[in-house]
Symmetry: C2
Subunit: 157 residues, 2 copies
């Protein structure tokens, strides 16, 4: 770790702008969701994921695979959401360890009510300021970095 390869001027600017941008953006989106629907972004992601599976329910570990969350984060999150009546649990016959997590009616109504406003905020605050090319580049960049992250996980394991 001697003689570290510091970031050069442009890298540093890019990195700090990026962190700042993300922080501000997510804070805004969170506030919008919270104010308009009483949801956090985390709630939103769980609800969207559940609403998109044909079966209407998922095992926690499947949800975890999709969201890429820590197991205990998901567990806490689901407990809170269950407590608020957004999701429910259905018994799982073939594996006695877990259950199925499913949207409740209230959960479905909530996500359907929240989605348009949230998508609109994402548009207004983010996509509307970008060109097609920038959007494409960002998707590409994100995918690249994600691959890299996954790859370097394997090494550690």
């Amino acid at each position: 770790m001697d003689n570290p390869r510091w970031l050069d001027e442009s890298e540093q600017r890019a990195w700090r702008s990026y962190l700042q941008m993300h922080g501000q953006l997510l804070a805004r989106l969170n506030r919008q969701l919270q104010a308009d629907s009483g949801l956090s972004l985390a709630d939103y992601e769980v609800l969207v994921t559940l609403s998109e599976v044909p079966a209407g329910h998922l095992r926690p570990f499947e949800l975890q695979r999709v969201l890429q969350w820590e197991q205990s984060r998901l567990s806490h999150q689901l407990r809170r959401m269950e407590h608020r009546g957004l999701v429910g649990r259905e018994g799982c016959t073939d594996d006695g360890r877990g259950a199925f997590i499913a949207l409740t009616d209230a959960g479905r109504r909530t996500i359907e009510a929240a989605a348009p406003g949230h998508v609109d905020a994402v548009r207004r605050l983010f996509f509307d300021g970008l060109t097609r090319d920038q959007i494409t580049m960002l998707g590409q960049l994100s995918a690249q970095v994600l691959d890299r992250l996954d790859a370097s996980t394997d090494v550690v394991t």
Copy 2:
């Protein structure tokens, strides 16, 4: 909010990849910092900011302006950091309301010890997977979105 403009396929992919990428990346960086130096990214940002000002100290509201944090977040953060001996307070003569926040010796040693490893992680996990052009684009994109966010704040205010 009727007839919402949903995200199209590529926008949705980009958005989800982006959120996922950021989550994974920040989680990794946080873990690296925590494991190697006992710091969170928030600690790191505060320490770096303080270490870069010539005077060696800042008023909380100046720190806030730089970091763009919520005021109470900063207040809590500084209290915790003071408690851990990373920063200290120096009396402020010309304004009785606040004090100056300064690095302690331990704080300076900590940030100097942490920086190389952190920068290296940022390189390895992020920059090394990107081309020059991508880095430039990302900086540009972030700056654009930031402008947009600031602009739309004024309107609300």
